[in-house]
Symmetry: C2
Subunit: 429 residues, 2 copies
């Protein structure tokens, strides 16, 4: 290693270590800030974003130009683009988060013991959250603000394709913190694009990161899951299914399947596979095929599907485990309810799965047996979203089973403590 | 590596991998078992333990003989010893767990969205739990049964000093499972003492372990925390404090401090440091010193403590971070409330801390400001225990902030899923 390279590495390590210490230190001030102060910071961030709109758009234009120069097009370019409407939506989202109930200091359980001890379980912040993300600059403010709402310090590490926009948005948050008497270091943005910085963050910065949240493409999320030495909240895949049960209504089946697949194809809650019960395949599939085609979706299917949907190409084993994130759907005709549940258990990713049926017993069995973070009856998988759940915003959707599962909002970014009140009780032998 | 060593390693790796797969497979049967079946298994385990009492005591005698031969004495030997009374207590504990409310299928939140979607959050098992422990054979049944209660598969890896007793107790559980139609592999006991087996378990057995719980001495717990590649629920240290506030009653202060330190010195909730406010030091310390002395406790103290407690030796900086687990206490006179809170933040381990005071404002501030899993007002730190909290039994006490904090009982061994019921809702653009 050259002396210069060594020096850079050294300084990345120093920089990251000191960010970790600063974040841990800031948790004290955050935990001490009342809800009114935390909400004022969030509303002030929204104001600053509106005030600095021109500057943000300028920075974003520079990011876009660079991304285009390096060959990005279409959806990839769209994801990092900001415009007036998106900035307004971002700021409005922050105001909505400020309106949410305080996630801290909530007594979620309280009971008394026979010896007179009164025990309360009270929500407290988690501590320091590390967020590794790419592309979409709104993650900077959404994630940052959810952490402020829940009293957590956060270290944000955004992707290089959006660094100017992210830095500008982060400055709004840091200024809002400072203007309300909190340390800017409560929300930090990693200033270097050195990949080593990510490695250090994933290693937990000497115990100064309590949990990691990855947001982005599969290779980013996979790296976080593989290399993290602290707990990760997130999901790797969203292989979501819509199962059209034998007793479904044709219109509802088609409406839900098309919406689940096509409303937005690039989100994790988009359906990738439609399972059609053999009991309704002849009835539903031809019309479903036409509706998907009309919506611009290519169909890949098993033999029966190909017979009933003339435009369908052949689905291979690999299609059942592919997250297309595109206008492509895999369709399989399954023998019965058990085969549908078994298909989901085998190929699913435990994210979000739906059944369409008028049979309440089948619906209840599906909700019970399918072991996914979100299971729906007669509703589109595209509802897999913190906002749609009424959480105001989400930092992501988790498919792990530890701590939080499903949409992760401000409430899910808390831990708890037990407060025990006595009158001199000692424990007998 | 010799061929023989290679073969042993290979077989440990194979054995552990296949245990992981079997555990994952068993989760399906467990999740499908209703509460009545799970409770029947727990009560049957208690019966079998009572029926096989002689055999268990014989195996335990052999374990003890071997431990003695390898030089174990006193508390270490006591921890692994079983007798009639301990076997009765163990079996009674299982019956108590069988009586607890079902932790699964509980709807802990339910709300409706403006679009008519009804969302329920329902508790489900975590999955596969790995438990690495040493010494106390009751962990085999307590942990095994809490996992059955909460629908989790478990892989138990007990220490070599107790392998015969553990194996016998595990057989009771496995037989009870089988007699009630569940796979024996729902609760597995690692058959080898090869340390490599622990390493494989900590690495998560190819994704087949969801969470690890260490129970035992510091070096074991430290190894688990350092090497685990899956989330760990547990605690490294229990540096618990009792703070005698200026406005405490002398009698209550002495009762609580002596009980917190001396009722059992070897448990994690035992107090290690007593902080005495300068406002009450002259009043409380001389009598406290005598009471501790009478209870057989050595005192180490700062200058003021040494002046007021003649038998006290000098406490050094190291004493404030030492978990004695013995009849030794460190006493420090602190300037005021803020100094007490600051001492606990600096030297504590976030486990359990208590304040003794008649001043409600000081008590509330302490409960709010001290960032530990359990904070108590006018009660002994020895109440830091799942049984004392009314959880029936505990698998351990967690000081981490992810998932569970404080005593971990059957409820804390669950995750949740969202069940969403609609009537054909699709998500608008």
């Amino acid at each position: 290693m050259s002396a210069a390279a060594d020096e850079t590495q050294q300084s990345t390590a120093d920089c990251m270590a000191s960010m970790g210490r600063a974040a841990r230190y800031a948790t004290g001030a955050l935990a001490g800030a009342d809800a009114a102060t935390r909400n004022r910071i969030i509303r002030r961030t929204a104001e600053l974003i509106r005030e600095r709109r021109e500057q943000i758009l300028e920075d974003n234009a520079a990011d876009k130009a660079q991304a285009q120069a390096s060959g990005r097009r279409g959806a990839m370019l769209d994801r990092l683009s900001l415009d007036e409407a998106r900035i307004d939506a971002m700021a409005a989202g922050l105001d909505a988060v400020a309106m949410l109930d305080d996630p801290l200091g909530q007594i979620d359980k309280r009971w008394e013991r026979p010896n007179g001890l009164c025990i309360e379980r009270i929500t407290v912040p988690l501590g320091v959250i590390g967020i590794v993300y790419e592309s979409r600059p709104n993650v900077t403010v959404d994630a940052g603000v959810l952490c402020v709402k829940s009293g957590n310090a956060v270290i944000l590490r955004g992707g290089s394709e959006c660094v100017r926009s992210n830095r500008q948005l982060h400055t709004c948050l840091a200024d809002a913190l400072e203007q309300n008497g909190l340390p800017r270091t409560a929300v930090q943005f990693v200033p270097t694009q050195d990949r080593e910085a990510v490695g250090l963050l994933l290693a937990g910065l000497n115990g100064n990161v309590d949990v990691l949240v990855p947001r982005g493409g599969r290779s980013l999320v996979e790296r976080v899951h593989n290399d993290a030495r602290v707990p990760v909240i997130g999901h790797l895949d969203g292989i979501c299914h819509v199962y059209l049960h034998g007793d479904c209504s044709t219109k509802m089946a088609i409406d839900i399947a098309v919406n689940a697949k096509m409303r937005r194809t690039g989100i994790c809650g988009a359906a990738e596979t439609v399972l059609v019960d053999s009991a309704c395949a002849e009835r539903v599939l031809p019309a479903l095929g036409k509706a998907l085609e009309a919506a611009g979706c290519s169909v890949r299917g098993d033999t029966t599907t190909q017979r009933l949907v003339s435009s369908a190409s052949t689905a291979t084993e690999q299609d059942w485990t592919t997250e297309y994130l595109d206008a492509i759907v895999a369709i399989r005709v399954v023998e019965d309810f058990a085969a549908a549940v078994s298909h989901i258990a085998t190929y699913g990713s435990g994210h979000t799965d739906a059944i369409v049926t008028n049979d309440q017993t089948a619906a209840d069995a599906f909700l019970r047996q399918v072991d996914s973070a979100i299971v729906l009856h007669n509703a589109s998988t595209q509802f897999a979203d913190g906002g749609e759940f009424g959480m105001g915003a989400e930092i992501g959707i988790a498919t792990g089973r530890i701590h939080a599962r499903g949409p992760v909002g401000a409430n899910e970014l808390t831990s708890y403590k037990y407060c025990v009140r006595g009158s001199g009780q000692t424990r007998p032998n």
